[in-house]
C-alpha cells in the first residue's frame, strides 16, 4: 500500500477501512539466508537495504520484544555529520545523505527536519578544536559554518549573554543537521523491509548461537532453532549480553544515558543547540517539547533508568546557557542502554566465527548513524567486505593501535 496525501483523504472519506497492518506478523521459516538479530533502527535498516539494494530474498529480523523498542525508541532524535576524524566523517556524511532521501526511499514520513545544529564555543582551545573539525567536515564534502559571537546573538538571542560563567565566543554550525521523528524511522524501515519480503518476527528472543567447527549455523530462540547462512547482530546496548552467548568479549561496556522532555511549548528553538561548557544539548520537537540530554550516568548498567545527579547536572547546563527555560517543566526522563566502545566509535565487522557478523558499539551516536549503519552492515553481509565508508570500524583496531577516538578519552568508555 502506498501512502500519500490523496490516500489519507480517500480513507478519511471512507471510514478508514482500507488501512492495512503496517507490517505482517509472519510465521518464522526454518532457514534464512540472513538473520538479523535486533529489530531496532539499525537492524531494520539493515534488512531494508539488504532487500531493496542488495536483492536479498530470504531475510529475517528477530526481535526479542516489539520492534523499535530499543534506543531508536528513546533518544534525542538528532542527526548530524559533524565529525572530526577520517574514520568517521565520510560514514556520517553518507548517513546524512541517506536521511535526506529517506522519506522518498521508504514512502514514510519520518519528519527529517534539517533545521540545523549549533555547537557553542566557550574558549580559545575549544574554538581551535571546532575550527579543525569544521575544516575536516568541509574537506570531506560536508557543510560547516563558523559563527562569531555577533552571529550567534542574532540567531539565538535567548541564550545567556549576560551573566554566563563561561561566555559564548562563537559556534560551529551544520545547517544540514537536525532531527527526525525517531519511532517513525523504525516503523518506516520495518514497513519497507516487510514490503520487500523480509520476515519481521517480534517476541522472538535469541537464546544462543549454534556454532560448529567455527561456523555459525543459526540461532536458538524462544521460538526454537532457526537456521541461517549468515547471522548479523545489531543489538547495540545489549551487545555484551548477546555476544557472550558466542563466548565473545567485546571492547564495549553498557552504560545508561538519560534523556529528557519538557511539557509542550510554543516554538522556542529553531534547531539543535549544544552547550560547550557543560553537559547539555537541546532541540524542540514538532509537538513542542524541549528534548534534551547530557552526559552518561557513568556506571555500567542495563537498567534503562538513571539517577538524580545526572538529571540535575543536565538541567544545570540548561539553565546556565538558556535561563529562560527555568519555568518550563521537565515532563519525563528516561534511560537507554548504550554500547560504549573503547574509543567512542562503532564496530561493523565480521567476527572470528564464520557466518557471524557484528554491528554495535554506537555509544550515544547510534541514532544519526541508522541509515549508514544499515547500509554498511547490509553491504558487509551481502558482499562479505566492508563498505567503503566503514573500513575503519574493525575489531582489530584496538590490538593494532588504530583507535578512532574523537574525544581523545582513551580506553575509558564512560568518557566518550
Amino acid at each position: 500500500m502506498r501512502y500519500s496525501g490523496f490516500k489519507v483523504i480517500k480513507e478519511a472519506l471512507t471510514g478508514h477501512k482500507g488501512w492495512k497492518s503496517t507490517w505482517r506478523d509472519p510465521e518464522q521459516q526454518s532457514h534464512y539466508d540472513i538473520i538479523i538479530i535486533g529489530g531496532g533502527g539499525h537492524g531494520l535498516a539493515t534488512a531494508h537495504y539488504l532487500a531493496k539494494v542488495y536483492g536479498e530474498k530470504k531475510v529475517a529480523v528477530l526481535e526479542k520484544g516489539w520492534i523499535g523498542g530499543g534506543n531508536v525508541g528513546r533518544n534525542t532524535t538528532i542527526i548530524r555529520s559533524n565529525y572530526l576524524l577520517d574514520g568517521n566523517e565520510p560514514f556520517y556524511e553518507i548517513s546524512l545523505k541517506l536521511w535526506e532521501g529517506l522519506e522518498q526511499d521508504l514512502n514514510y514520513n519520518a519528519m527529517v527536519s534539517q533545521r540545523g545544529i549549533m555547537n557553542l564555543i566557550h574558549s580559545d582551545a575549544q574554538r581551535d578544536a571546532f575550527v579543525r573539525r569544521g575544516n575536516a567536515m568541509m574537506l570531506n564534502g560536508a557543510d560547516a559554518e563558523y559563527l562569531d559571537l555577533d552571529q550567534i546573538k542574532k540567531e539565538y538571542p535567548f541564550l545567556n549573554f549576560d551573566d554566563a560563567r563561561f561566555p559564548i565566543k562563537g559556534g560551529l554550525a551544520q545547517r544540514r543537521g537536525g532531527t527526525v521523528r525517531h519511532d517513525a524511522v523504525a516503523w518506516g524501515y520495518a514497513r519497507s523491509a516487510d514490503g520487500n519480503g523480509v520476515d519481521i518476527i517480534q517476541n522472538c528472543e535469541v537464546t544462543g548461537f549454534r556454532i560448529e567447527n567455527g561456523k555459525c549455523l543459526g540461532v536458538e530462540t524462544s521460538r526454537g532453532f532457526i537456521g541461517a547462512t549468515k547471522v548479523g547482530c545489531a543489538v547495540a546496548g545489549s551487545s555484551g549480553r548477546l555476544m557472550a552467548k558466542a563466548n565473545m568479549r567485546l571492547p564495549i561496556e553498557s552504560h545508561v544515558l538519560q534523556a529528557f522532555v519538557s511539557e509542550g511549548l510554543k516554538p522556542v528553538l529553531p534547531g539543535v543547540i549544544t552547550f560547550g561548557a557543560g553537559h547539555f544539548y537541546v532541540s524542540q520537537s514538532d509537538k513542542g517539547g524541549l528534548v534534551f540530554g547530557g552526559d552518561l550516568d557513568g556506571y555500567n548498567s542495563y537498567a534503562q533508568r538513571g539517577n538524580l545527579p545526572v538529571v540535575e547536572d543536565v538541567c544545570e547546563g540548561g539553565m546556565a546557557i538558556m535561563p529562560m527555560i527555568g519555568r518550563a517543566r521537565l515532563l519525563r526522563m528516561w534511560g537507554g542502554i548504550m554500547d560504549m566502545s573503547m574509543d567512542g566509535s562503532p564496530i561493523i565487522d565480521r567476527t572470528h566465527i564464520d557466518g557471524l557478523y557484528f554491528n554495535g558499539g554506537w555509544c550515544y551516536g547510534g541514532f544519526k548513524a541508522t541509515p549508514a549503519s544499515g547500509f554498511a552492515f547490509a553491504h558487509l553481509l551481502a558482499k562479505d567486505e566492508p563498505h567503503e565508508t566503514a573500513t575503519a570500524y574493525r575489531f582489530d583496531r584496538f590490538e593494532k593501535g588504530r583507535m578512532i577516538d574523537e574525544k581523545g578519552m582513551g580506553n575509558q568508555p564512560n568518557l566518550h
Partner: protein, 981 residues
C-alpha cells in the same frame, strides 16, 4: 455576590477575598481556593483548549492529574506555561491567561482542526507531507510547529532562585491522607525520624474532600489533630506543598517543595522552590488513588468531570461547576458525589448507573442499567444523552456531569525502578507489584485499600513493618469501611469520538485504528497515537486505552501490560532541577593568589577551567589586546616578566618508594634524579597516549613535588591514586594535593635572577653555579618566609618559579613589581605565556589532545625501554609507530603578513585539497613578536623529515588558504642557551 456557583461550607477562608484575573477579566475568590475552584465558583467552566483539535475544555479533575485546565500563570518574566489551574493556589492579584488558542479562548480559529478531525487521525502525518522533499522544513513543518505546543515561555531569564537541599530520615511517607497520617503518627510516636510529604497545600488527602466521620466527628477534626500532634514531634518533619517526584536507587527520593508558588512572588532572598534529595532508610507510599473516567461520545466538554472531582470542589472548596449536575457511574462511589451535592443544595439531574442493581436514592432519580451516550454544548455541557436500560433514549439537562469508572491506585512510584504492577481482579485495577523499589511499602488506597478504615489500618501496619516495631497495632480511630467492588466498564459500546486522552485528543477510534495498522503492543499504541504522552502522563487516560487494546487483541489487560512509569511523578520546573547552579554560579570560581592585585592593575581575565586567570595587563594607550600581549612578550624576553602559575596542579609525593612510584607513572625515568633537581615528565595513559606532562622536583630523597597541567590536575591525581592503591599497593608512597596551598609565580627573562636576588634571602646562592637550570630548593624570602624555588622555564628564557604560602602571594607579587621597577618588570598573562611557549615549541593542552603519543610529540625516545611504566607496553602497537606518523613541527607563513590558523589543515603544496590528501593540522597559533609574523605548532605526517618543506595551510571554514613552511617547533633559541644562562 458574583461567585454564582459558590456553596456553603468548605475549607476556604471567606474572611479573605482575593482578586484575580483570567484572560483579563477580574474575579474574586478566597484564600484556600485553587484557580480552578475559584473559576468554577464564578461560573467559569471553559479554561482551555485541547492540543490537536482545539476543542473547548474545562477541568476534568481537582488535582495534579489534570489534563485540560492548563493556563499561563503570571506575566512578564515569571510567566509560567501549562500550569494546572486545579493545583494553582489563589493569591491576591493572580493573573492567568488561557493558552493554545487564537485569537481567544471562546473563538479559537484553530478549532477548525476539529472539523477535519477525520483526516487528522492517529499517525496521519507519517503518511503524507512527503512531496516534494524540501517542502517539509519550509512549508509543512512550520505550520505544524506553530499549531502545536501548549503554553508559551516568556523568552526571558527566570528571575527566581531555586534551592537544593538534602534530608535524611528513617521513614519517608509519601502522601498525607488517612494512611499517610496514620503511618506518620505510628512512626513518629515511636521516635523515628519521619518525613511526611504531600503535594497538596493542605494535608489530609481525600479526607479534605469527603464528608466522612472519624471517631464520631468530622474527619477534619481528626486530620487537624493529627497534624498538630505530628508538628509537635521534633523527630517528624511535615512537608506540605512537596511532591515526591521520583524513587531513585537505594532509597534516594527527589522531592520538590513549592516554597513561594502560592505568593505573587518570592520574598527577597527566598527561593521559589526547593528540590530536596531525601535519603530514606524506608519509605511508605501512601499516594492514594485516582478516579478513572468512562469514555463515551463527546465526553470532553467543559462541565464533564470526574465525579470525585466535583465532590472535592463541593466539599472542600464550596464550589460547583453548575447548579444542575448529573452523574454517570458504574460503582457506588459515584453516588457519594450525588449525595453530597444534593445535601449542598445542588440539583441532581439524575444518577446514570450502568448497573441494573444500582442503589436507589430518596433525594434524586437513579437510572439503573443506563449509559450516557452523548453530550451537547459548544463551550460547556448543556445536555447529556442517556440510553436507558430498556433501550429508550432520554436527554438530561445539566451543566455538569460527574463520571466515575472506579479508582486506580497510584502505583507510579512503585514502578520507578522498572517494576511492573499486578492486576487485581476484584478492583479491576493495577495494584503495586512484587518488585517495589527496595525499602518501599505501600499503604492505603495506593495499595488497593480504598476504604478509610483500610487506609488507617494499612498505614499503621506499614509504619510498624517498616520500622520493625513490635507489639500490637495502635488503636485505630473508627472510620467508614464500605466494601469496594469495581467491575470494569471502560467505554460505552459503539462510541467513536470518545476521548481517552483529553489533552492529546486521543479517542477510542484512534486506538482502534492503531490496532488495525499493527501497532498492537502497548508501547506501539502509545507512540503511534500519543496516548498518555501529554503533561498528565496519562494518569486518567492510560487504563482506558489499555482496556480497549486488550479487547481488540482478545487478551486480558494484564497480558497487554502497561507502559513504563517514569519520573517525575508530576512535571517539575527545570529551574528547580538546577537550583543555584546557574549564571555566574554555574561552576565555582577559583581565584589565584594574585587575583585582587591583578584586578587593581586592570587585568583582563579569562576562564581556564574553573580558574579565572589574568589574560593580559593593558596599560594606558593600548587599544587592542595584541598591543598588550606583544609588549609583555617583548619585555619579558628583553628583561623580566612575572606570571601567576598557581593554577598548575601540585601534588606532594612522599615515601620511601616515591621515586619508584614516579618511575611507574612517567614514561621517562626518575629513579636517578638527584635531590635538589627537577625533571620534565611525560605521563602516558595505559593505552600509550599522552595523558599529561609536567615536572617533578626532588626536594628530599623521599619527597617530590609533581606539577600537572591546570586542566588535568584532578584527573592526574585520581590516576596516581589508582596506580598507588590498585596497582602497587605495597609501595610506600603518600599523595596529597597542595595546589592551592602555594602561590607560585614564574619569573622569566634575562633579569629574572637579578630580580629574585632582591627577594630571596641572601644566604641562598642563585648564581648559575649555585642554582643551575633545573635546580630546586626550599628557601626563605623577604626576611625569613618559607618558600620554594624551581629553576624551570616554559618561556625559553632564564626563568624561575617561586612559591610562598598562598596568603602571602598577594604581597609577594606586589614586592616583585616594586623591586622589579629598576628592570622594567612586567606582569604577563596567559596570552603572553602562550605566545612564548609556542615560540619555544613546548607542547600544551592543544597538543596533548588525548590522541597524541610520545612519538607524535617528538618525545618517542623518552619512553624508557629500561623499565616498566604505565602505557609503555601499548605504545608499542603498530598503529602508533607507523612511518608516516604525525610529528610535532613548527609552521611559518611564507608571506609574513599571512595568517596561521589553529585548526587549519595542511596539504601538500601542489596536491589536491581534500580529506584524502590531508597531511596534518595546526594545533596552536599566535603572532610572534620575536619573529614578526604569525607562527604555529602542528602535527604533520612524517613531519620530522619534512622540515623545510613548503605546504599549503587551508581552513575553509574560516576561509583561509596560505602557503607555509614546515620548520622546527623551536622558533626561539633552539639550542636552549638562554634558559641555561
Amino acid at each position: 455576590m458574583n461567585q454564582i456557583n459558590r456553596l456553603k461550607g468548605g475549607q476556604i477562608d471567606r474572611t479573605q477575598t482575593l482578586n484575580f484575573t483570567f484572560d483579563g477579566k477580574t474575579y474574586q475568590g478566597h484564600s484556600g481556593d485553587t484557580l480552578a475552584s475559584a473559576l468554577l465558583a464564578n461560573g467559569v467552566r471553559l479554561m482551555g483548549r485541547s492540543f490537536k483539535y482545539h476543542r473547548p475544555r474545562g477541568p476534568l479533575t481537582a488535582g495534579s492529574e489534570e489534563p485540560n485546565a492548563m493556563v499561563e500563570l503570571r506575566t512578564g518574566a515569571r510567566q509560567e506555561p501549562n500550569t494546572r489551574a486545579t493545583t494553582a493556589e489563589l493569591f491576591e492579584g493572580l493573573s492567568a491567561q488561557s493558552q493554545n488558542r487564537w485569537p481567544s479562548l471562546k473563538f479559537d480559529a484553530m478549532a477548525i482542526n476539529d472539523r477535519f478531525s477525520n483526516f487528522l487521525t492517529a499517525g496521519f502525518y507519517y503518511k503524507t507531507f512527503m512531496w516534494p522533499a524540501a517542502f517539509w522544513e519550509k512549508i509543512y513543518e512550520p505550520i505544524i510547529r506553530k499549531a502545536a505546543g501548549l503554553g508559551s515561555l516568556s523568552m526571558q531569564a527566570d528571575p527566581d532562585a531555586y534551592d537544593k537541599g538534602f534530608r535524611h530520615c528513617d521513614l519517608l511517607i509519601i502522601g498525607a491522607g488517612p494512611s499517610g497520617l496514620m503511618a506518620a503518627l505510628t512512626a513518629g510516636r515511636a521516635g523515628a525520624e519521619v518525613i511526611l510529604a504531600d503535594e497538596d497545600f493542605a494535608m489530609g488527602g481525600r479526607l479534605n474532600s469527603e464528608t466522612f466521620a472519624i471517631d464520631d466527628a468530622s474527619a477534619d477534626v481528626w486530620v487537624q489533630a493529627s497534624i498538630a500532634e505530628l508538628a509537635a514531634l521534633p523527630n517528624v518533619r511535615l512537608m506540605p506543598r512537596t511532591t515526591v517526584i521520583g524513587a531513585f536507587d537505594h532509597g534516594i527520593y527527589g522531592a520538590l517543595e513549592r516554597v513561594s508558588d502560592h505568593l505573587a512572588e518570592p520574598a527577597p532572598g527566598k527561593p521559589r522552590q526547593i528540590l530536596w534529595r531525601i535519603y530514606a532508610a524506608k519509605t511508605i507510599l501512601a499516594a492514594g488513588a485516582t478516579e478513572r473516567p468512562i469514555a463515551f461520545e463527546n465526553n470532553d466538554r467543559p462541565g464533564i468531570m470526574l465525579a470525585s472531582a466535583i465532590r472535592s470542589y463541593a466539599n472542600r472548596w464550596a464550589a460547583t461547576p453548575a447548579q444542575r449536575v448529573a452523574i454517570f457511574t458504574n460503582n457506588d462511589d459515584g453516588h457519594r458525589t450525588a449525595a453530597d451535592l444534593h445535601a449542598a443544595g445542588v440539583k441532581i439531574a439524575a444518577v446514570v448507573d450502568t448497573r441494573t442493581d444500582a442503589p436507589r436514592s430518596h433525594g434524586y432519580e437513579v437510572l439503573q442499567g443506563a449509559q450516557v451516550i452523548d453530550s451537547k454544548g459548544r463551550l460547556g455541557l448543556t445536555f447529556a444523552g442517556v440510553k436507558l436500560a430498556d433501550g429508550s433514549m432520554r436527554t438530561l439537562e445539566c451543566g455538569a456531569l460527574g463520571v466515575s469508572g472506579g479508582w486506580n491506585p497510584n502505583v507510579h512510584m512503585t514502578c520507578h525502578q522498572r517494576g511492573r504492577p499486578t492486576w487485581d481482579d476484584s478492583l479491576a485495577a493495577f495494584v503495586p507489584g512484587g518488585a517495589l523499589p527496595p525499602g518501599m511499602t505501600v499503604a492505603g488506597a495506593a495499595s488497593g485499600n480504598l476504604s478509610t478504615h483500610g487506609a488507617l489500618q494499612t498505614g499503621a501496619q506499614a509504619a510498624k513493618a517498616a520500622l520493625g516495631l513490635k507489639g500490637r497495632l495502635p488503636k485505630l480511630p473508627s472510620a467508614e469501611d464500605a466494601p469496594v467492588s469495581q467491575t470494569p466498564f471502560w467505554y460505552v459500546e459503539g462510541c467513536s469520538r470518545a476521548w481517552l486522552d483529553q489533552q492529546n485528543d486521543v479517542t477510542v477510534k484512534d486506538v482502534k485504528l492503531s490496532h488495525q495498522e499493527g501497532f498492537r503492543s502497548v508501547e506501539h499504541l502509545k507512540r503511534y497515537t500519543t496516548l498518555g504522552m501529554a503533561t498528565d502522563q496519562g494518569k486518567t487516560s492510560n487504563m482506558g486505552g489499555l482496556a480497549i487494546m486488550a479487547e481488540l487483541a482478545g487478551k486480558s489487560i494484564p497480558e497487554v501490560g502497561t507502559t513504563i512509569f517514569r519520573p517525575p511523578y508530576t512535571p517539575t520546573a527545570i529551574g528547580a532541577m538546577a537550583g543555584r547552579i546557574k549564571g555566574m554560579d554555574f561552576h565555582p570560581t577559583r581565584l589565584t593568589p594574585s587575583h585582587y592585585w591583578a584586578k587593581e592593575r586592570g587585568a583582563v581575565f579569562v576562564e581556564v577551567g574553573n580558574w579565572l586567570r589574568a589574560q593580559w595587563f593593558p596599560i594606558a594607550g593600548e587599544t587592542h589586546w595584541r598591543q598588550s600581549v606583544d609588549r609583555e612578550v617583548a619585555a619579558t624576553r628583553a628583561s623580566v616578566g612575572v606570571c601567576d602559575c598557581t593554577t598548575l596542579g601540585k601534588i606532594d609525593v612522599q615515601g620511601t618508594d616515591a621515586a619508584q612510584f614516579l618511575n611507574k607513572i612517567y614514561c621517562n625515568g626518575f629513579a636517578k634524579l638527584a635531590v635538589g633537581k627537577v625533571r620534565y615528565g611525560l605521563m602516558l595513559r595505559e593505552d600509550g597516549i599522552a595523558m599529561d606532562d609536567g615536572t617533578a622536583a626532588r626536594l628530599e630523597d623521599d619527597h617530590f613535588v609533581v606539577t600537572t597541567t591546570t586542566a588535568n590536575a584532578a584527573k592526574v591525581y585520581q590516576h596516581m591514586e589508582f596506580v598507588r592503591q590498585c596497582l602497587f599497593p605495597d609501595m610506600d608512597v603518600q599523595l596529597i594535593s597542595t595546589t592551592e596551598a602555594w602561590a607560585q609565580y614564574a619569573v622569566a627573562g634575562p633579569n629574572s635572577r637579578a630580580l629574585l636576588q632582591k627577594i630571596v634571602d641572601p644566604e641562598f646562592d642563585l648564581s648559575n653555579e649555585g642554582f643551575p637550570f633545573m635546580a630546586c630548593a626550599n628557601i626563605n624570602v623577604s626576611g625569613g618566609l618559607r618558600a620554594r624555588l624551581f629553576r624551570i622555564s616554559f618561556s625559553g628564557e632564564m626563568a624561575f618559579e617561586i612559591a610562598v604560602p598562598a596568603r602571602y602571594g598577594d604581597a609577594l607579587m606586589r614586592k616583585l613589581m616594586t623591586e622589579g621597577e629598576e628592570f622594567n618588570v612586567v606582569p604577563y598573562g596567559t596570552e603572553a605565556l602562550g605566545v612564548m611557549r609556542i615560540e619555544k615549541g613546548h607542547a600544551a593542552g592543544n597538543e596533548l589532545n588525548g590522541t597524541t603519543s610520545a612519538l607524535n610529540l617528538g618525545m618517542g625516545r623518552m619512553v624508557s625501554k629500561a623499565k616498566d611504566s604505565i602505557g609503555s607496553k601499548l605504545s608499542e602497537r603498530e598503529g602508533l609507530n607507523e612511518t608516516d606518523a604525525l610529528n610535532l613541527v613548527g609552521i611559518k607563513p611564507l608571506d609574513a603578513g599571512d595568517k596561521v590558523t589553529a585548526g587549519g589543515h595542511l596539504m601538500n603544496a601542489d596536491g589536491p585539497v581534500d580529506a584524502k590528501h590531508d597531511q596534518g593540522y595546526v594545533t596552536s597559533a599566535a603572532f610572534s613578536p620575536s619573529l614578526g609574523s604569525m607562527i604555529g605548532l602542528g602535527f604533520v605526517k612524517n613531519g620530522s623529515d619534512r622540515v623545510g618543506e613548503k605546504m599549503r595551510l587551508v581552513s575553509p571554514v574560516t576561509d583561509l588558504n596560505v602557503d607555509v613552511e614546515i620548520v622546527s617547533a623551536h622558533f626561539v633559541d633552539p639550542e636552549g642557551g638562554r634558559q641555561r644562562a
